[in-house]
Symmetry: C2
Subunit: 240 residues, 2 copies
């Protein structure tokens, strides 16, 4: 039985980001990442700080936990990380969830292909901008976007933007894959801010800035600009 390292399972809640913003869903967060983004809001998935929380679970064990939490109150499951595309056991989980009749969302940075991408209903590829300190391998990303051109579900690109340089990067990515639905998202650089009001107003101010960048750019006409809805709602808390 193939097991995958799971760091948290929670829900029902709503999706906070990108093409699936607002979607009622359950979350399965896998451990392990090939990236180390400077501003990662889930660094506990890779920095060792939540090592003791990682459980190696079979698809059926994951399903049991989902049912226990969500009972008959969910129809959509989001697999997030970390980078779930690193996990060989992902295919078995995706197959199992499909058999149970739920729709599946998955988010990954587009650094690695995984055959199970083909079976994801809502697939978000989120390459990381310069502020992350990571470097995009565009040869790999090209290959992935090429293979996704015939995808049967919904596919989108999403770039988090913290500053002007990130916005240039987002523009470049959108122009490189112009036919793929494109989302720019406000970065949260107050990941340790405990005061929700301060955080909310700060994020909305940043969103206003990002909207203005998009409005002014003739290269960003067919894009969506979004906040992280869960951060506006629940601040930096985990498990919601």
């Amino acid at each position: 039985m193939e097991r995958i390292p799971v760091i948290e399972i929670f829900g029902p809640t709503i999706q906070g980001e990108g093409m699936v913003i607002g979607q009622k869903t359950m979350f399965v967060r896998t451990a392990g990442c090939d990236y180390r983004c400077r501003w990662c809001d889930s660094s506990f998935t890779w920095d060792g700080s939540a090592k003791h929380e990682v459980e190696w679970l079979t698809p059926e064990q994951i399903w049991q936990q989902l049912k226990q939490l969500g009972d008959d109150r969910f129809g959509h499951v989001t697999i997030s990380g970390g980078n779930p595309a690193l996990l060989k056991g992902l295919s078995a989980l995706v197959t199992h969830l499909k058999e149970k009749g739920v729709r599946i969302g998955l988010e990954t940075q587009g650094s690695v292909w995984h055959d199970s991408f083909d079976d994801i209903d809502d697939l978000t590829i989120s390459p990381k901008p310069p502020s992350s300190n990571m470097e995009t391998n565009f040869a790999t990303l090209d290959m992935i976007m090429d293979r996704l051109a015939t995808h049967r579900g919904r596919v989108s690109l999403k770039v988090v933007v913290f500053n002007d340089q990130d916005f240039s990067y987002a523009t470049y990515v959108h122009q490189r894959y112009p036919s793929v639905p494109f989302y720019v998202q406000v970065g949260n650089d107050h990941i340790h801010e405990a005061d929700d009001v301060t955080l909310r107003l700060n994020l909305l101010q940043k969103l206003e800035w990002l909207v203005e960048q998009v409005i002014q750019s003739k290269h960003m006409n067919d894009v969506c600009v979004l906040p992280q809805l869960h951060t506006l709602l629940w601040g930096n808390r985990r498990g919601v």
Copy 2:
């Protein structure tokens, strides 16, 4: 030349609602409505208060105003109201905009069919809940949703929710048309609140309530819960 009554044209900005949330777009707001929703945030389109602002414009005149405002910085136009479906001249405008190569979004309450619905790329049908004091004619809505079953663009239903009764109504609408992507949206009952911080925090609190209703309901598993993004950003101001 067919003219339509236009009450404001503005943009580029972003869409604040539903399936097109965050989408960069221009707005053409038409005058006149068959409804009188109690909490309407655009009552100036029908209550006579902005009568002097109404201009009867040809499709080319509308296009010229869009170009003047948006130049080469837009690729999407939203037609909103009032209820644009009431206007015979709508077809000519939609045809003209299509010829110019822009994508078109349109929102209407689903009280009247219009042949130009077939040519809309992003069509939102937004029946009004009990708190509006309006009554839905479900025979008409059935007919409209039936005709839209073979629509080539994106179609969704959106219901604004202010209270428990509205939420029951939303649940009913979703169950009546289960295959149509469904959005519930937080109502803004502070349409005269001038203080943006108060308004923002109030809306986010309401959003949290609505998310909780959706989480608890087994009939609302495949839905999206969203705020009005433009109200979070810009409060009750017009023309943004």
